[in-house]
């Protein structure tokens, strides 16, 4: 349903005098109908830029410099702004990290969702008002009528994020893009919102692109997971396989660095830091931090190699086969 191929997102540096910085360096992935894909990575790996490019919202000086984004049989990168506006909100819903930034402080929650419904020609007037209350009830907000009359600052963080989810699904999109939807929330609230997203997906047949830094969240919610590092997808596969038998040393390192296995012992930290987009080496971007590096690692970027059924890793240690 969503098919991203060789996507490149660049940010102009130094007012265009210097070489542009590649935040997203040729990534490809797809999300099937009703499927949840987790896009995981640390800050600066390009996961948010990738998500924003899907709906043409990459902030300047960033721009999509190459690739294609096929969604429901059209290339979103070829669409004009008017056409994109029809897709945005109506066919693809968006949930961002900070609900307060997504909501307008000077309109009630109900008015904002009703406006989205009117904008996309779904419902107006009394019909829209009823639909708003139904939506707020669907995201499990207690007293939905009262919530519709409230302003964003009246609500708690968890309730706000639910209201944002209600707005995102208002026009019955087929794809929901959620960028760190629970990072700003408390642990118990986060659990509730994740459960809600999981149930929505089943009830509405939504496909979900879940962008997060937390492997734990992916484990609970995603069917498949793509791990990003320094602008590239270094591993992709079914969640269970990726977490149980990670194909890429970076994924292995991430999993090993999670606390929990043996309390009181040293964590297996990944040494070093992520190379900045301007100084990525010609070889594997992870080579400088990798404990398993071999001779060829510095020579050229490895391609994706098979690590099992539907499971790919960008590492020379994997067997080479198509």
């Amino acid at each position: 349903m969503l098919q991203v191929a060789d996507l490149v997102v660049e940010f102009d540096a130094g007012g265009g005098r210097e070489a542009p910085v590649r935040a997203v360096d040729g990534i490809s992935f797809h999300v099937d109908r009703g499927e949840t894909l987790g896009l995981v990575g640390e800050s600066g790996c390009g996961k948010s830029a990738a998500a924003l490019s899907i709906v043409g919202l990459v902030p300047p000086p960033g721009r999509v410099a190459g690739g294609s984004i096929l969604f429901e049989a059209r290339d979103l990168l070829d669409c004009g702004e008017r056409e994109l506006q029809k897709v945005r909100g109506a066919r693809i819903g968006f949930v961002f990290q900070e609900p307060m930034a997504a909501l307008n402080p000077s309109f009630t929650i109900g008015d904002q969702i009703a406006e989205a419904l009117a904008q996309h020609g779904v419902a107006r007037g009394a019909q829209a008002r009823q639909r708003v209350v139904d939506l707020l009830a669907a995201v499990r907000i207690p007293a939905p009528e009262r919530c519709a009359r409230s302003y964003a600052h009246h609500l708690s963080g968890g309730m706000r994020q639910r209201a944002v989810i209600a707005a995102a699904i208002a026009c019955q999109p087929s794809l929901l893009v959620a960028d760190e939807p629970t990072t700003a929330l408390d642990m118990t609230t986060q659990a509730e919102v994740l459960d809600l997203l999981g149930d929505m997906r089943q009830d509405l047949g939504l496909a979900l692109l879940l962008i997060t830094h937390d492997l734990g969240i992916v484990a609970g919610l995603a069917d498949r997971v793509a791990v990003m590092y320094a602008g590239q997808i270094v591993e992709v596969g079914p969640t269970r396989d990726v977490l149980r038998s990670p194909a890429h040393p970076y994924t292995r390192g991430l999993l090993a660095s999670l606390p929990g296995a043996r309390p009181g012992t040293r964590l297996e930290a990944i040494p070093g830091v992520v190379p900045s987009p301007g100084s990525r080496p010609p070889g594997c971007t992870f080579a400088s931090r990798c404990t398993e590096r071999i001779d060829g690692c510095d020579v050229a970027r490895p391609g994706l190699r098979s690590a099992g059924a539907g499971h790919l890793g960008r590492c020379l240690l994997l067997r080479e086969e198509p």
């Binding site: 640390e42 800050s43 408390d186 642990m187 118990t188 609230t189 986060q190 659990a191 509730e192 994740l194 459960d195 830094h213 937390d214 492997l215 734990g216 969240i217 992916v218 484990a219 609970g220 269970r240 977490l243 149980r244 390192g253 991430l254 999993l255 660095s257 999670l258 606390p259 929990g260 309390p263 009181g264 040293r266 964590l267 297996e268 930290a269 990944i270 040494p271 830091v273």
Partner: protein, 294 residues
């Protein structure tokens, strides 16, 4: 032997007025909190935002003035001291903050920031302080050559190392770390947690570790207190509290932890404040394990 840190009946009220003429509205951020920390122990204080865990930490250093209660540190009462006598205590109690970028002066070079405490306390001559800063940089895994750089030139993990070097400069015996790694990426988080564990052992530090991330607390702390709405609802050895939680809130919190734990779908427990008697006092449910349950 008395505990190194002994907090009893700690209360902190914040009051605000809606308008200058209206009655102040009092909000009790910390409500009758008691705990002790033994020398060399790492003690975790967990809770969600608004639970009072950060305010508790700040009260101990008297960065905010406590409303009531007592705090004995190394056998001496801290809360009763006049502010002029606090300097000596603050030398032996230091704090590491969540966001090193906002807790470090952006116009001060990293070396100066680490040295500042030594200057304030008039410790050592200029060359001695220089050597000490170099030693501290090495201790936290930073290149001493980076001492002339400004905070924004460092990565998040490196900045937290500067914050740690700064806190350790005065050789404190008690370190309060308030969400020291929650702003960091997972792979960097592990590096900093390892550093905490190494330094704690090497310097025999006593640690109060304030965090919302239960996975980290479980890893790092031998005892833990769970706070909810200003009160400690459960306290005990970390293994006991995590493996056999007694308070409904602790249970809900533990069930909410996401994890790549594929062995079993854990049941998520809901918690509603209305269903629980929040005024119940802590009582011992097992040796060294207390919970606020009837």
């Amino acid at each position: 032997m008395p505990s190194l840190v002994d907090v009893r009946g700690l209360v902190k009220d914040f009051s605000r007025r809606v308008a200058p003429w209206s009655r102040p509205i009092v909000h009790r951020a910390v409500d009758q909190v008691d705990f002790t920390i033994e020398e060399g122990e790492s003690f975790g204080l967990v809770g969600e935002s608004g639970s009072g865990k950060t305010t508790t930490g700040r009260c101990l250093l008297r960065l905010v003035e406590p409303t009531a209660g007592s705090f004995t540190f190394e056998g001496q009462e801290v809360f009763a001291r006049p502010p002029s006598e606090l300097r000596d205590f603050r030398r032996r109690m230091q704090m590491v903050f969540q966001d090193p970028l906002s807790s470090l002066n952006p116009r001060m070079r990293a070396g100066e920031a680490v040295e500042e405490g030594l200057v304030v306390h008039r410790i050592g001559t200029r060359p001695e302080r220089r050597d000490r800063v170099e030693e501290l940089f090495r201790m936290v895994g930073l290149d001493p050559a980076a001492r002339d750089r400004f905070p924004h030139e460092f990565s998040g993990g490196q900045r937290q190392r500067i914050g740690l070097a700064r806190a350790l400069a005065l050789e404190p015996s008690f370190l309060i770390a308030d969400e020291p790694v929650s702003a960091l990426d997972v792979s960097i988080q592990a590096q900093v947690i390892n550093l905490f564990m190494d330094l704690q052992q090497r310097l025999a530090l006593t640690l109060l570790f304030i965090a919302h991330d239960l996975r980290l607390v479980r890893h790092l702390c031998s005892r833990v207190a769970v706070m909810y709405r200003g009160r400690v609802v459960e306290m005990g050895r970390t293994i006991d509290v995590f493996d056999a939680p007694c308070h409904p809130y602790t249970r809900a919190l533990l069930s909410a932890v996401p994890g790549p734990d594929l062995r079993a779908e854990r049941l998520r427990l809901a918690f509603s404040a209305e269903s629980v008697d929040l005024s119940a006092p802590l009582r011992e449910v097992a040796p060294g394990h207390a919970a606020a349950v009837p």
